[in-house]
């Protein structure tokens, strides 16, 4: 083996002919150029912060041409006035502190860039630049040149930018502010010493407390009133009903008490209650800035493509404006946005985003190409058959399932309990009030309000948000990114699991490679490996990593025939690697499997066969799941793998082949109508409908930064075998919530004793309420952390 040194820029191993520059090794010219740019511009600090922070720049000839189209640029810009433009660009490569540093020092590369600010969690950079000195296209290219190519998709092409919702922070801040101050002001009265000075000032103090609680009641708590109202209108007694009732009674009774100088009121409990509730709500919202659970094809499709107009000239055109019979130029590495017919060029189309299949498909001119594929070998020209919104793939999104919202149709555990809770509290309040009406009518109203105050299910309402919110964070650390708290609840209730095949249960990057033919000796292997090194074809890359431990040699006359193979010379030896026709291999038995053939000099040596490899632990996972769950596999492919699958999966697993995206969706809907709760595990755009229809859609992703269709959770591919453990923990979390609700009931019973007997004083309420909330928070956090020890 040669000395493998890591590229100084990107950390990839550089072998044989590494480029040495400034006593540093670089794996490719691109990396070297980035290093040169940085060192010339006083930016070499980039390499001090982190080892191998960079990425090799990709070819971008023409990639950003559409940014010269002012109509498109205008939509992307945040601000554009008097030569100053501001744009926020999404840069997938942002991953370390070096990235932040270099992107915030862009002004050193071009003095027309005035300022740039990185938002690390979202992987965006906001650039302010002088458009007279540098155009938007030049800016994008400059960033591409240093390995930070911005990713601009059709999704960015929105007429309106969504405004950030910060209301929860405001509400929480206001409630916290009021809670603290009201606590101070109400403190003297807790002791009820009939002292002269206290009597003097208590009116002032009380009215100050009233003033502080006004914004809490009218603004911070407004969400609960709205939710309760909506619930009642839909005939649902959700948890917000008793909460809103409690808050309302607290406020009204307290106000009445201070007006008629009966007592000090419960303003401390009121503000505290709202503060704790909002804290739970805030905690429950775990957002992953860099992930999106709402993506459709738009965040994957390009914003514009190159159209060849009638005069044969190229122009950038917005994809929504592509019409039937338009001629489009698709460059290398560009996505085909429409169903089309290939006119010119050799098409090799990578449909991995659609189907999960990594092996590109070859097309001859005259053949039909479907939208969503990525051209991977040179430029092609195509003629549009259908506009973007009507293509085979995108019309899936016109299914009504994409308009419905899973969140609305699901009743959470808290709301289920809340129904019985509200009814029993109201009946307790009614009977206690009736009793007091006969015994001591003066106390009746007091008791009635006291019951509603003390029964306000603060701790109950906080159990689920804290348990689920904490679980969301734990899952997130373990590379299982769940969209919201409710998704965990739905996951715990599931009884059926459906899997997609390609890309979901098969690994994308790992293929099983077997060799058939005359055994190769060491020298031949190293020649083979050296030749493969020059090729960027996916199969070459797989084979290259497969042949480890071979020396690399310096070749001459390397030639790659796109879509066919590679040939190279070493001394007097001549090697040809590629398709059967390329190496003139006769009598090949196996046409179905993907193979790479090898010819050395004039002798046919044999072929490497590629097979999709199933994910590690697949068989074990299915065996574990089989006793508890109904399992099925839905595949868009032909049934070539049927026998193989049967071997490794439990008998009762149903396997369906040649399923269209629509059929997958309907299969799940059918199961749901039979009363099953379905989890769909998929990866590609063709699973988007099924993921949406299912109760919980889990997208498997090799790289969470790249792309995953709309779903409820994103699972990193490496954690696939842990899926069952995640579901188990989700179920455990529900048990924790039930226990925590039991604890909150205990507090309620203690409180009710005080209320029913007519002895509820503000001190008791002020102690019970925070105490119950805090103990619920501590309990759920501890228990969920203990639960998560099961996961590694």
């Amino acid at each position: 083996m040669t000395d493998v040194s890591a590229c100084f820029h990107c950390g990839d191993p550089c072998e044989a002919d590494a480029i040495v520059f400034d006593e540093k090794n670089f794996c490719c010219n691109g990396c070297k150029i980035v290093f040169e740019i940085f060192s010339e511009n006083d930016l070499s600090g980039y390499y001090d912060l982190q080892n191998f922070p960079g990425a090799s720049p990709k070819e971008m000839e023409g990639k950003y041409d559409f940014l010269d189209n002012t109509a498109i640029a205008e939509k992307l810009l945040e601000f554009n006035d008097g030569g100053t433009q501001i744009i926020t660009l999404y840069i997938p490569h942002i991953h370390c502190s070096s990235c932040i540093w270099v992107l915030e020092n862009l002004n050193k590369l071009d003095r027309n860039i005035k300022a740039s600010q990185v938002d690390f969690p979202k992987k965006t950079v906001r650039v302010t630049f002088n458009s007279e000195g540098i155009s938007l296209k030049q800016l994008a290219c400059l960033m591409g040149k240093i390995g930070y190519a911005p990713y601009i998709s059709l999704d960015d092409f929105q007429t309106e930018k969504i405004k950030k919702d910060r209301s929860i922070i405001y509400k929480l801040g206001i409630a916290g502010f009021a809670f603290g101050n009201v606590m101070f002001l109400s403190f003297p009265e807790y002791f009820e010493v009939n002292e002269f000075w206290l009597d003097q000032y208590k009116t002032t103090f009380r009215w100050l407390m009233f003033a502080f609680s006004l914004p809490v009641f009218f603004y911070s708590a407004s969400g609960y009133f709205i939710a309760a109202f909506k619930g009642l209108r839909a005939n649902i007694l959700n948890i917000d009903v008793p909460l809103a009732l409690g808050i309302l009674v607290l406020f009204v009774r307290s106000t009445v008490e201070i007006i008629f100088d009966i007592g000090s009121g419960f303003f401390d409990s009121l503000t505290g209650l709202v503060f704790f509730l909002l804290l739970g709500k805030y905690f429950q919202q775990k957002t992953y800035g860099f992930l999106s659970f709402e993506r459709d094809y738009k965040s994957y499709f390009p914003i514009a493509v190159t159209r060849i107009n009638k005069n044969g000239r190229e122009e950038a055109v917005q994809v929504n404006e592509i019409k039937k019979a338009d001629r489009l130029l698709i460059r290398n590495d560009e996505l085909i946005p429409v169903d089309a017919i290939l006119l010119k060029g050799k098409a090799r189309i990578d449909y991995s985003f659609v189907t999960g299949e990594i092996e590109p498909v070859e097309k001859e001119s005259g053949e039909k190409i479907f939208a969503g594929g990525k051209q991977v070998s040179g430029s092609i020209e195509v003629e549009t058959l259908k506009p973007v919104s009507q293509s085979y793939l995108t019309q899936l999104w016109s299914n009504q399932v994409f308009d419905s919202n899973k969140e609305n149709s699901f009743t959470s555990l808290t709301n289920t309990i809340s129904k019985y809770f509200t009814i029993s509290i109201l009946s307790i309040a009614a009977s206690a009030t009736t009793y007091w009406l006969f015994v001591q009518p003066a106390l009746a109203m007091n008791v009635f309000t006291a019951i509603l105050i003390i029964a306000c299910p603060c701790a109950l309402a906080m159990s689920a948000p804290f348990a689920l919110g904490n679980m969301l964070r734990i899952f997130g650390k373990l590379k299982f990114y769940v969209k919201n708290d409710q998704a965990i609840e739905r996951l715990a209730k599931a009884d059926t699991l459906i899997f997609d095949k390609t890309g979901t249960i098969t690994a994308n990057n790992k293929s099983l490679v077997t060799y058939e033919g005359i055994t190769l000796n060491k020298a031949e292997k190293s020649l083979l490996k050296s030749t493969l090194r020059t090729s960027g074809h996916p199969l070459s890359r797989i084979l290259y990593t497969h042949l480890n431990g071979c020396e690399l040699v310096k070749l001459s006359d390397v030639e790659e025939v796109v879509g066919q193979g590679i040939q190279a010379k070493f001394n007097d030896q001549n090697i040809k690697i590629g398709s059967a026709s390329f190496v003139n291999a006769r009598n090949i038995q196996n046409n179905l499997q993907t193979a790479v053939h090898i010819r050395l000099n004039e002798e046919y040596k044999g072929s490497f066969l590629f097979q999709n490899e199933y994910r590690e632990g697949l068989s074990e996972l299915f065996k574990e799941l089989a006793p508890e769950y109904q399992l099925a596999i839905l595949s868009g492919d032909n049934n070539g793998e049927a026998a193989n699958l049967k071997k490794i999966l439990p008998l009762k697993t149903s396997v369906l082949f040649q399923q269209t995206p629509e059929e997958k969706l309907n299969y799940i809907r059918q199961l749901q109508q039979e009363g099953h709760r379905v989890v769909m595990v998929g990866d590609g755009l063709n699973d988007a409908g099924a993921l949406k229809q299912s109760d919980v859609g889990i997208a498997i992703s090799e790289n969470v930064n790249v792309f995953s269709p709309a779903c409820d959770a994103i699972l990193e591919a490496g954690k696939f075998k842990e899926l069952h453990n995640y579901i188990k923990v989700a179920k455990g979390t529900m048990t924790v919530i039930k226990m925590s609700i039991a604890i909150s009931f205990l507090y309620n019973i203690v409180g009710l004793y005080f209320a029913v007997t007519g002895q509820l004083s503000p001190v008791v309420a002020a102690i019970l309420m925070p105490l119950s909330s805090i103990s619920v928070v501590i309990f759920t956090t501890l228990m969920t952390n203990i639960l998560s020890r099961k996961l590694n």
């Binding site: 006083d42 502190s97 990185v118 969690p121 950030k164 922070i169 002032t204």
Partner: protein, 71 residues
């Protein structure tokens, strides 16, 4: 009467001062949320560390240039 009014006004004065201070911080909080300080809570923590790096780098440059002069 005199004995009573002095401590009373002190309490009102203290109340006013404390509420003014509290409201001041509250307004600062609202403004900070509005300016987007709570939108990205991670990047500033990293950015803060760069100031030192830049200073160090400048020192090095100065050193190298001074060395060159000596040579």
């Amino acid at each position: 009467m005199y004995n009573n009014s002095i401590p009373m006004s002190v309490i009102y004065l203290l109340l006013t001062i404390s509420i003014v201070i509290a409201v001041f911080f509250f307004v600062v909080f609202i403004l900070s949320v509005k300016s987007g300080q709570f939108d990205d809570t991670y990047t500033p923590s990293v950015r803060m560390l760069f100031d030192d790096e830049l200073v160090k780098e400048k020192d090095q440059i100065q050193k190298t240039t001074s060395k060159n002069k000596e040579e």
